[in-house]
Symmetry: C2
Subunit: 420 residues, 2 copies
């Protein structure tokens, strides 16, 4: 399997990977336009725009967009993250040209009709309601805000209802004009795909756009505090955030290995100590979230009102203990888990296309698999201990809590325990 | 790619499919022991047992079970459904013998230590709490109970806290003795796998078990009523259930096509009429759920307190309208969507192993892909209209509602509107 990359004169990048034997393909457009590219008064516009793309173009109405893809047994979807908006489709190989045509159409030619903006506003307000009704979803928004306060990267993707209620056509066209530039776009495709054909079609569809020049969003600044919301839920939900490397930091693999040893599977320390030995929760995990320039290691657990105090101190103690006695066997297992996850992920066209786009966005290249594996293998147990030591020593942690919080610790208490 | 099937003298069935080019594999054990095989006082025991399998065997403690799989970069998991308990692992191809050994060990040799039962009881009580905190999860349990009242198939998988609080070692061993029989077990594997090697290993691991003889669970009896829970949520969550064919009914494909036209994608009637035109919800879908002998077509939507009344009558009206004016174009699109979903799903080792096991459990054979596609293609627009007409004419519907329910209709009102 071979990765091929092309760059149009206006900056649009194309990355493809042919996967022999696959009858289907995944193709999409990734744009460096996400939550962190919004000014405060724009919060939620990137996501609103993603919704409006499906509401009709100069060439297709909303029903036609859906029908053309579903007529050939495919599906089309989109998401907005803090650094990207992505539009993608899964189709049989022969329908890749159609899928790319539809994706380009909805991104480049949306109508933004006032009537459709009103309808979609209601849909998004319902989406916000749904997120608020899902404690183990909304708590990560709150943790993000507690970790990166008063910054675009700390705000929610959906935006607050008050702003969503006010967005109009001008807000949408302004954000498109500011952000949807060809030199911030990546077309990525994997599966049964033909690189040259895709490059030719991308040239035809996107070649006329004018470059804007690169820009860099405001650097993320970790300034942890806490957010807690008391509510009569069955469980007390806790999310904890620690400073962690970004994707462009060579320590990124150390943080992934540390998060895996801490809470990446059934053999991880948090799972064993908190669930397997003590039965304090059903769900507990740690993961090393990362952006280009910054990261946030998060630990999530849902527990009972009575157990929250004990659980939260156990989590802090496990982070500290990792600095003392992390073993080579655990690091070796984490290496195997991460490599296994990568190799199995490569068998899916969707996750491969996603991965190619993300790597190109971060490094402007696609590191060969051997390079990634060598970097994972190069992480030592000393590296992991040192990272845990740094996190613990700083005493810095962001905290989000939701539910019955009677036994809940203060962020200061946990922070002091971490640094002690 | 070739499906191969074997049957041990004691009834254990083995089904494998080698997928050329895959470096990984999925292997697992599916047992006809789920919620519908529980007596009332046992409700939740199949799921409790699934948890206890991971808590230690005569050969491995809980940590060793996790470590052996994660050491090789794999993962292991399990689930309990109403008809099955499944234990499965995803590993690189060379580790299939290890994965099968671990899966067999946790199913055949669990220790059920009292101390571990107590710990796991707390984990499951937390899991129940988590489900209760997730409205768009718990509402499907309530719909199931409203559709199949006072039957094992209508009860929750997790069981009520009161019963979970009382289960002990004897309850677990009794359920194992009753249900974990070799003639109710299917080993399924897909990806980089070798049929003969797997059959040899299954013979070694499971060959000593004694057959119990087949049995048939109590037939599902659709007796719809309603369940509503008022709560101060952001959204009003609605799930509606209609009588639908089971897997062994030739009409199963008609119901899948009908559900797809109604609410299976962005071009579906519910999505277009309720979300795209009116903005009444973010999530809305229909799906044709099925068991061996019965089915339940479900429609779910999350909406606002003000909009619930309107949304619920629109859903009913769309079911009725489908009986009148379902078009060939929509049926053709649904055929393409279902076939596309099957073909893309076949590219994943996990979903392929799952599919093989399910087909063997339902039909005791694996229909060739061409046969399934022919059956989908054979469904006519008249078949779909007739099914919609039957559902509407009966006026039978089960209803579950959760959240702010001020504008909520009565089940009787919707039922009368459906039949009118």
């Amino acid at each position: 399997m071979t990765v091929e990359i092309a760059r149009l004169p206006n900056g649009v990048r194309v990355v493809t990977e042919h996967m022999p034997g696959l009858m289907s393909a995944s193709v999409g457009l990734w744009i460096a336009a996400g939550g962190r590219h919004e000014r405060p008064e724009q919060n939620g516009i990137a996501h609103f725009l993603e919704h409006m793309a499906f509401k009709g173009t100069t060439r297709r109405n909303a029903l036609q967009i859906a029908e053309e893809i579903e007529d050939v047994g495919g599906y089309i979807n989109a998401y907005t993250s803090r650094e990207m908006t992505a539009y993608y489709a899964r189709v049989m190989s022969g329908d890749v040209p159609l899928a790319l045509d539809v994706v380009a159409d909805i991104v480049l030619n949306p109508l933004f009709e006032d009537k459709e903006i009103e309808v979609e506003r209601h849909v998004i307000l319902q989406e916000i309601g749904q997120a608020l009704d899902t404690p183990d979803d909304i708590i990560f928004d709150w943790l993000q805000e507690a970790a990166f306060p008063d910054q675009a990267i700390g705000r929610t993707i959906l935006g607050p209802s008050a702003l969503v209620s006010g967005f109009g056509r001008d807000d949408l066209t302004r954000f498109v004009a500011e952000r949807y530039a060809p030199d911030r776009m990546i077309v990525s495709a994997a599966g049964g795909v033909d690189h040259d054909a895709i490059v030719a079609q991308v040239t035809e569809l996107f070649g006329h756009l004018e470059a804007h020049g690169q820009d860099t969003p405001e650097p993320a600044r970790f300034a942890p505090h806490e957010r807690r919301e008391h509510k009569g839920l069955e469980q007390a939900h806790m999310a904890l955030g620690l400073r962690s490397p970004g994707y462009r930091d060579p320590d990124i693999y150390t943080s992934q290995i540390f998060a895996t040893t801490l809470g990446g599977g059934m053999s991880s320390r948090l799972f064993q100590e908190i669930r397997e030995k003590r039965g304090l929760c059903y769900t507990i995990f740690a993961q090393a979230g990362a952006y280009a320039d910054a990261g946030l290691m998060t630990v999530y657990a849902g527990t009972g009102a009575e157990e929250l105090g004990q659980l939260s101190t156990l989590v802090v103690d496990e982070i500290k203990r990792a600095a003392e006695d992390m073993s080579e066997a655990e690091v070796q297992r984490a290496r195997a888990q991460i490599k296994g996850g990568i190799l199995m992920g490569l068998e899916s066209a969707s996750s491969r296309a996603e991965r190619l786009a993300r790597m190109l966005a971060i490094w402007d290249r696609v590191p060969p698999l051997e390079e990634t594996i060598a970097a994972i293998d190069a992480v030592s147990v000393e590296d992991v201990r040192a990272m845990a030591q740094g996190m613990a020593g700083s005493g810095e942690l962001a905290l989000a809590l939701y539910g019955p919080l009677d036994t809940a610790p203060k962020e200061r208490e946990l922070s002091e325990r971490l640094a002690a």
